[in-house]
Symmetry: C2
Subunit: 174 residues, 2 copies
DNA sequence: TATTGTTATACTCTATAACTATA
DNA sequence: TATAGTTATAGAGTATAACAATA
C-alpha cells in the first residue's frame, strides 16, 4: 500500500548515482515516514505555522486567537460553546483564550438577554481594527503559499485536506 | 486572492437552496478561515493524528516516538543530533523522548568509538519487534487515508505538502 | 573554541474531572 | 436533569539559556 515509494525514485540514466552522503546531515534515511501523510502533514503544518506566526509577531498574535477573532467578526454575539465547536476547541480551553483577548481589549463578553448562563462574544472597536491588519497579513501569507504551489495548487490542496477528514467531502472521480 | 471561495459553492439547480440553519451548530460562518491553508492544515493534521494515535493506543505509542523508532531502524547508531535534525526536534527536547524509549526497553544509547561525547542510538530487539507491529498499524492507517482521497490523491497531496515547505520541490508546470 | 548532550524552565495547545449558576 | 461557563490539573510538544564533558 504505497509502502515503498522509495523505489519510485530510481534514475533511468545508466550512470550509477553515487550514494550521495554529500549533504552530511540530510543523509538520514526516513524509511516509510517519507511517504506517510501524518508525517508530511506535521512538517507542513509546523512550517506554515512558523511563517504565519512570524507574520503575526508585530501584533503579538498567534493562529488560534486570530481564528477566534475572525469567527467573532463574522458572528457577533456568538456563545463560547459555538465558537469552540466551530474551531475544534473545547469549552474549557477556550476560557483562558477569551480571557486573554478580553484583557487585551480585543473582545468582550456581554450578557445574553434570555439566558443568564451564557455570554455573547463581541469584537471591540480595537479588536476589529487589529483584526483588519491581521487579516491582511494572513492573506499575504496565503498568497506566498499559493505561489509555491503553482496554478490551481492551492485549491487542489484545500480540497484534498477536506477529503482527508470531512466525511461530507467524498473522494474525487473514482 | 481566492478570498471568496464561498461563491464557488453555488448550486446550478433553479430551486433556491434554503439558508440551511438546519445543522444549528454548523451554521457558524468561518469567513476567510474557510479557505486558508494554515487552518485547513491544522484541522487535517489534528484529525489524522487522532486516528493514528487511536491505532497506536494498544501499543501505548504516539507519532513522535514512533518516528524516532523508524529512523533508528533505518539508521542504526545515529546520534541524537542527527535524529533531531531529521525529524525537526531540538536536541534538548529529544532527551526525554529517548529517555522514555530507553526506559521502556525499546531503544538504547551506546558509546561511540571515536567520540566520547556522543551516543549512538539503536533499537533493542524488543524495539524492533514493537516497531514491526506499529508500522503495520501505520500502513493500514495510511491505506484508509488513501481510500478517502481517491486514486492518485495521496501522491498528489504528498507532492503539494512538500512544495509548501521544502524549497527543493519547485511549483509544478506554470 | 566548537560540539554533544544535558538540566532547568516556560509557554502553547490539548484533555479530563468536578464545580457554579442557571435553565 | 441538562446546559453554559468555569476552575484545577495534567500531559504533550516546543522554545531559550546555561552548563559539563569532550573534541
Amino acid at each position: 500500500m504505497g509502502a515503498n515509494d522509495t523505489l519510485m525514485h530510481m534514475k533511468t540514466s545508466s550512470a550509477p548515482v553515487p550514494p550521495a552522503p554529500s549533504d552530511d546531515a540530510a543523509a538520514v534515511e526516513l524509511g516509510p515516514l517519507r511517504s506517510m501523510l501524518h508525517h508530511a502533514l506535521r512538517a507542513a503544518q509546523a512550517g506554515v505555522m512558523d511563517e504565519l506566526q512570524a507574520a503575526f509577531a508585530a501584533e503579538d498574535m498567534r493562529a488560534l486567537p486570530f481564528a477566534i477573532l475572525v469567527v467573532l467578526s463574522r458572528n457577533p454575539g456568538l456563545r463560547q460553546i459555538q465558537v469552540g465547536f466551530a474551531l475544534g476547541i473545547q469549552p474549557t480551553n477556550l476560557v483562558p483564550l477569551i480571557d486573554a483577548l478580553e484583557e487585551r481589549g480585543l473582545a468582550e463578553r456581554r450578557p445574553v438577554p434570555r439566558d443568564r448562563r451564557a455570554h455573547g462574544l463581541f469584537l471591540t472597536r480595537l479588536g476589529a481594527e487589529t483584526l483588519a491588519r491581521l487579516e491582511a497579513q494572513a492573506a499575504a501569507h496565503e498568497a506566498r503559499l499559493a505561489e509555491r504551489l503553482g496554478p490551481g495548487g492551492r485549491e487542489q490542496l484545500l480540497a484534498l485536506l477536506r477529503r482527508l477528514t470531512d466525511p461530507r467531502h467524498p473522494p474525487a472521480q473514482d
